[in-house]
Symmetry: D3
């Protein structure tokens, strides 16, 4: 199975997936993912990017390697991976995934836990489990559905139809399209923007989005006052408001600001 490692570069964190040869490093996808996420959560990074050395996101080159462990092992394995995906969704800073190749099954379900997904012409995203007589077990069905709606989700999940990069942005499965050859640049620009952005504002809005997607508008309405409380007092807000107010008075556009995350 493939394995993850966490790297930290200033306020930017990266979780990188390495494709291992079949059987080479044992059943480490779940354990290395969990460890990488826990490590990321304990640092002071302000954005986390998911990339892959091969450009692809898959669990293993050899599914038989997985299924040979028995159904009880497999159900514990997917429960463990899914627990890590929810930990990603609950991180207190934004997350970005970037895929130039194939993100399939559990590999794609992992990326569906991120806030932003950057794709390009060579990207293919899919949920092939049904075509193999099984089903997504790490949250993929409901996360595809909330992004693309019921009709398209029926084709992607029930009929296992893959989605190419440009279509993924068109239908709302991905957030950013990078022209050919610019995947790295578009991703880096977005990651840098987020690393220098208002980290606490991001946390608040991400929480509202999660509340909405899980429990609807009324639930987000109810949590809103508590979640946004105190934000106005942050260092970032105080500085930005001063600058924005000045710009608006002078009828100038808002300046691109840099934030401390505090």
């Amino acid at each position: 199975m493939n394995t993850f490692r966490f790297e930290k570069d200033g306020s930017i964190g990266r979780i990188i997936l390495t494709d291992n040869p079949p059987g080479k490093q044992g059943l480490s996808f779940g354990d290395t993912l969990r460890n990488a996420v826990i490590a990321a959560n304990r640092t002071d990074i302000r954005v986390l990017a998911f990339t892959s050395e091969s450009g692809n996101f898959t669990v293993t080159k050899d599914p038989a390697e997985l299924f040979a462990q028995g159904h009880q092992w497999f159900e514990a394995f997917t429960a463990d991976v899914f627990s890590s995906i929810r930990m990603i969704e609950e991180l207190r800073f934004p997350t970005v995934a970037s895929v130039g190749g194939r993100a399939m099954g559990g590999g794609f379900e992992l990326l569906l836990g991120c806030d932003f997904l950057v794709v390009t012409d060579t990207t293919a995203l899919g949920i092939p489990e049904v075509s193999m007589g099984v089903a997504p077990m790490a949250g993929g069905v409901q996360r595809v559905a909330e992004r693309v709606g019921r009709a398209r989700a029926a084709r992607i999940t029930l009929l296992s139809e893959p989605v190419k990069g440009p279509d993924a942005v068109e239908i709302g499965l991905a957030t950013h399209f990078a022209p050919a050859g610019e995947l790295s640049k578009v991703t880096t620009d977005l990651v840098n923007q987020l690393a220098n952005g208002p980290t606490q504002s991001y946390a608040v809005v991400r929480s509202l989005l999660r509340n909405w997607k899980s429990s609807g508008v009324a639930s987000a309405d109810i949590a809103m006052a508590s979640i946004t409380s105190g934000l106005l007092k942050t260092e970032d807000a105080q500085n930005a408001i001063t600058k924005a107010s000045q710009a608006l008075k002078n009828q100038q556009p808002l300046p691109r600001m840099t934030f401390s995350g505090k």
Copy 2:
């Protein structure tokens, strides 16, 4: 009113709507629908297709025939039809609707209970109730909204604007578009694919989609482990995994597989 009948052809079931002349067969839409759905649920079919002899899906040619029964009768009638629609949503195999003509009001609400909806150039879908001073009473408003989002739903339901076939696929109200003259072929191909597909995988994914649409991502997350449990042990999964694993090892594309439903 129009009437339904159920037919079984091997693992394929069909519920067929017949347009009756006004007043000809009494108030049978609700009773024949319920009986057809119960009959379908008791067989061993693996897919259920809804078609209409006339190409249209409407409750009656003469609305006055309905409303003349009084509001108490009418409310009991729609409650009964809606109960059948929810039984359709809860069937343990996938469902397909195919419309070449007009599906309006209660006729369209019925089709909104299906997983797949195949349309063509001559198709028109609509919720005209508001333009008649009443309102959809069989689940149409919320099922249109979950498919096309709030803005388009406001126009379709509040303003009673109908949607043509090609637009229906574009906005996610329908799942499949059939070019002119190919409605029957596209529908048949889809029905055959589903009849030979992994019935138990379909059941699992359909249940996750229903849980998501009714209670959000968190609810589907919670039900997921139980719903997917045991799937790996099915005959279909065991066979498909073996074939898929072989193909992936040989770097071949996944073969189109046939499943037993077991």
Copy 3:
């Protein structure tokens, strides 16, 4: 801050926003909004339109004016504005917003409480709060998300990317696009249509849409029978059914009907 006033013209109500010079009329945005909504709720109007004298919808020309009041004042202020927005959503007749210029932040969040939003080429809609180190506090995040889905909402809310008029209709953030120079005409036509429409049917369908957006399909299903009960007995329904039945029997299109709201 800017101020609102309510005007009534027969069965049409209007809440009009006036841009005041900075500091000119004190902190009146919240108070005048609440009073206008309460006034509207107490009349017998059948539609409520939100317009702005300047064409823009913003809270103030000088954000410093707001933030200078302190965070406790500001949190009470936004709670108060948000309470008015929910009162708008709960009005018993449909609501229309029309924007030819910029609707930003709290001004845009207000319009997201309306059923219909008419835009044109010069319209710009946005949630710039995050770019100022704060966050939307009047329901904007969840109401953008329910309209455009998670991926686009992430860009609009987390990255503060504004949306132009034509794109707003394309992605479902607005309901109606008016060609250049026709904003007023398109808005007026829609408002007149609604003012002469089946007010009680609108109330029923709006309630179902709100139930769906807040609690999902199952919740709307459960409330549906109660919400729709009695509608068939209204004067509007009785008249319209008679006319519609006649038209259908004669195989004529449904006539555009005028309703009394009763």
Copy 4:
């Protein structure tokens, strides 16, 4: 299996369960229940009472009779029964169940669909399915839990512990306790009170309770205005308000009023 029949006595309806000898009348529990509920829904009754000739509510004297039909038949059977239970919950008038003996498994799940449950010293209620290696399939787990809370529900459902009549009232599983020998009288009094009560008020409050139990307080809050709209105009409200106002002015207690249901 046991069978149901519907009887109408003025504004009171009754669905009565007859214990049949094993194998005697085929697999009719589901069909006769559905037919009885549909019949009740089509009349003008104002209350529906569930009683049993033997005093017990069980599906069959011989479970082997059920399970011998195969798991696919059994799953269709329980889906059908559960569909009837939800139809009971959605009736537009209140429902009363009265049990002097044992209500177990599917028989008890049926009664959990009623608004009121009258018990006595000899009553025993239970969910024995887990102790037989299966599980409640007609909504019993969630309906017990919403009545008695998580801790007691764990014992009743997971450990299959039955509940005696007096305890059932104490913990909120039943609503009314009848002293020894008075089950019939207490039930009749309650049924008569409801049959002469404000039927439309009951419908409104029952709908709010269902909305609350399914989707929480916020959802009921949202549906409330629509559900309660128009109630003040009913004949019953007009008459009762006049009488109540008079009594309050005279500082007298409210008179027990009789309502027409209109």
Copy 5:
């Protein structure tokens, strides 16, 4: 109708209800309530207590005064009152209601918006609306149900059975019971405790309770991290942790602490 006024005494706020003679002060219940709540929200109080000069909480001595305004006026009136109740629930400090007499209908629904309810032997709480052929329109049904469960809620709301003070605590409808003659003392002690308590901790826990009651455990789980974030940095937390740590090290009980609210 009765009228409210707001008073501030240091960090304690009070909203006091005055019983006016019939017709004396016009239709001011809703307006004076809204103004009092808005006033309370704009101060720096840390607890808000609801009391009544007469000991009773009712809307009016003469219901005919209310209903004579017509159903449209009445529906707007209850919508307005309900909006104020939700504003109470959303205040950023705890709320206490104290009732020695009768709290009925809209008066009781108001108190159901408070965190704490202190009662005594002479207290009576009730929802008499159904017995008058109408229904609670300000949130009472769902708020009684969430406190006492479905079975007791059915009796209190559908059958209009009132609840006496001691029973109200027993079944969870009220939080505190005051022995005869001590209502004022028990209330004052509680209000003082809250006024000197950790205001920001209260805000966090109140928000979690509201999220739970509206959208269930999963929704509160999702909002929890955001809602609790930053609490550890408050002045109150820093001081209390130091003292608690010291006490625990010395194996002493936790000292009763006084908090600044900051």
Copy 6:
């Protein structure tokens, strides 16, 4: 901080908490809990019991040890603990907690993730966080509320009032009361019963309870058919049905059965 270890004894698993001296073993509560839960999930046990060597469940003897790590560390720590609690709730077998002493704060929140809680006269359960100027951050507020209702939850969480063993059972915070000196026996009996019970039935009912508590009755209704599907075919069901059917035919009580878990 205190530390956990996992032990397996046939089909019974145990997670045991050891109280370590302050500072002795570093910050290991979270890491050892997660590892113990993952280990439990990977075995073939059929029940998991939580016990403590000291009889108490607390995070640390010295809270200053925790808070000294800084608020960012602390928030990551609680997020990690909470992630383990949810993994406990999602285990595929039942869980039992047994407390003879004090379970406070995070220690009590952990036990709230279990299905059964056995207490005795010397037990004390509590959420003291608010009294320390902070708030429960591992799900305690919402899990206390769902067990004891809103009124009692307000006292336990907002006012930090502890609950003694007998009261805990009375109000539904705990499931089983053990008389003095019998805590171990009552716990062992329950654990043995569960270890020999119908593991797959337990999994189904636990999933329905979780669905209900998170998303209400309607959500559990929707998931029910999928979650219960296939249960009738298990070895345990087949054997038990045969025995039960035989007993019922002979009018004997159901025999206490032993199950294989398959």
